[in-house]
Amino acid sequence: MPESQASETEVLEANWRRKVDRSTKWPVVAFIASGTFWLLVGSVFAIIASLKFNMPDWLVQQGWLTFGRVRPAHLNTVIYGWISMTGVGVATWLWARLLKTELRGRWLLMGSVVLWNIGMTIGTIGILAGYSRSIEWVEMPLAAFAFIVPAMAMVTAAFLITLRHRRVHHLFISVWYTGAAMIWGPFLVIAFLLPIYSGVPESMANWWFAHNILGLWITPIGIAAAYYLIPKVLGRPVYSYHLSYLGFWTLALFYNWAGVHHLVGGPVPQWSETVSIVFSMMMIIPVVVVAVNHHLTVVGHFKKLIYSPTLRFVVFGAMSYTAVSLQGSFQSLRFWQEVTHFTHYVVGHAHLGVYAFATMILFGAVYYIMPRIMDWEWESPRLISIHFWTVGLGIGMYVTALTIGGTIQGFQLLDADVAFLQIVEDLKPWLWARSVGGTLMVIGHFVFAYLLYRIIRRSGVAQTGPTYFRPAPEGMFGSRAADVKASLEERPGL
């Protein structure tokens, strides 16, 4: 085959990919920008809630800033605002790119952003105003979900329409994860909002739901992004395609049974606890499969983390996924739960999952996606570096403090000779450390939001090459135009 012909195909492919990327522009920008707005709102709630442990008489004069309202406001804004909306933005871009077709249903998606933001506004104000439903993970009043559920359904509809127009035969594993998430997510919310639960069965449905929002809505989007971005940035194929199938089906079959482990030792039927513990342990299979697959893709190329912001955030997230999932499996065991359940250890675990895994991968994905749809580079590698180190150190400190403090709290709770107020006293330094770590993370979020604002406005000086932390050696990543050569989706079946 003459060389000129090959390069002509490459140019055509690159042009088409650019066209596909740009077709996603406004919905993706709208979802990511909205998500980031809710990240900032949620971060402010987070820091208020954390400081209230340190200063319990601070901001108590009115009900709307009391701890028990600010905390659910934090959770709902970061889960349904930040993670979900940014996650949909990332998933939308991945979906079009991997199906190699222009995004369809763009108006559905734009409509979805509007409804979603209205729902989030109602929900957040509703909680603060005293309309919290006090059901963990769905505290927002039903009026909020009346907007968010249709918004989620519209996203799924747009994805299905785009799927019908796909120009690939083979569906890359990220498509599996993303598509499944678009089915699981809306189903979970609708199923749990049915007005059929009360008492103890409600608590079971509650944790079936909350655990699955993590595992079947947030996690698959995170894994899908990692599966695409790690090989893409490295210019290497995924280590094993067969392993990725195994990982998907084991996740799909095992994860959704695990949630009731949140009620071990509680007034729920023994069989449900046992089932949940067994499936939690079985989750080791999909987790190890994904970990092996990602690790063997990266191995030998770790020095590239010095240069690529996307890679650094995503690999941080992928490693945290392994850590948090293995931790999760083992802490479902009764002897472990007896100590850690009801303590701040669990809060540390939750943030290791939602933050160190999911949020870090979303940051990495946004760093990859935005230049491609805006045709503009990130303004400052230095600020990206500050973002990475503030949130990286912040979450490290946060999780470490709560894991140690929570474990001490757990052992003290088991010893009836330790007075309760003594336990409260001993926990205080760890809660301060949490506030310090949290503050670092919040600083990072504002830096990230600033960078995002600048790239959407296309501010700063025009640059030609991609943004790296420092100039990458010649040929390490290939130029953007030449990334056709090593790209993964050109080799279906790999």
């Binding site: 319990p56 009900g63 006090s134 069965p201 709770l413 309760f420 409260v424």
Partner: protein, 194 residues
């Protein structure tokens, strides 16, 4: 389409199974659960009090589930005469089992601390009765009034020490604080006869 259909229908089938087993079936079985001895439906005031409990998110620091004997130290701590049972919750439209014990379990608080003065003082300013507590104060559930303006029907709350109101003033419980107290007093576990 077939391949995509297979993947996504498979994913849907997987979640439908656990939904049925963990959410639907237990709810259908609820009809068979009898209330435990001493468990009765809420009065209007108690129900309003539960609304306050939920509105202000007490659940984020207090559980309402006593662990059974042999699992944890709840009973040694005097948090209840027995582990909590499904029948304790049959009148809870919204469960408040909770997942965190920054504060102690409350499922048997009515037995442990029935004093209205103590409960109201603790809500007004936790550190006035529990030094070192990190529980938020809830001054907005109370009014600080001049002594001579207090009506006979109002409930005053004795607060001493550094948190006492200024000379000549007293702390008066609002309706909401009293409702919340009424609700807390429904949280009582009794030994069950076999």
């Amino acid at each position: 389409m077939t391949r995509a259909l297979l993947i996504f229908m498979g994913a849907f089938a997987a979640i439908l199974m656990s939904f049925t087993a963990l959410a639907l079936v237990p709810s259908l079985q609820l009809a068979a659960i009898e209330p435990t001895e001493g468990t009765r439906n809420y009065t209007f005031e108690e129900r309003m009090g539960k609304q306050i409990y939920m509105r202000d998110g007490c659940m984020y620091c207090h559980t309402q589930q006593v662990r059974p004997d042999g699992f944890g130290s709840d009973m040694d701590r005097g948090w209840g005469p027995r582990g909590s049972l499904p029948g304790d919750y049959v009148y809870d439209d919204t469960h408040q089992l909770g997942t965190m014990r920054t504060g102690p379990d409350l499922h048997d608080i009515a037995t442990r601390q029935p004093s209205r003065d103590w409960q109201l003082a603790h809500l007004y300013q936790p550190r006035s009765v529990s030094p070192g507590s990190v529980m938020p104060a809830y001054p907005y559930l109370f009014e600080v009034k001049n002594e001579d303006e207090v009506l006979a029907s109002e409930v005053t709350v004795p607060i001493g020490g550094e948190y006492a109101p200024p000379e000549g003033q007293v702390v008066v419980a609002t309706e909401e604080a009293l409702w919340l107290y009424e609700y807390l007093m429904t949280l009582e576990l009794r030994e069950q006869e076999e």
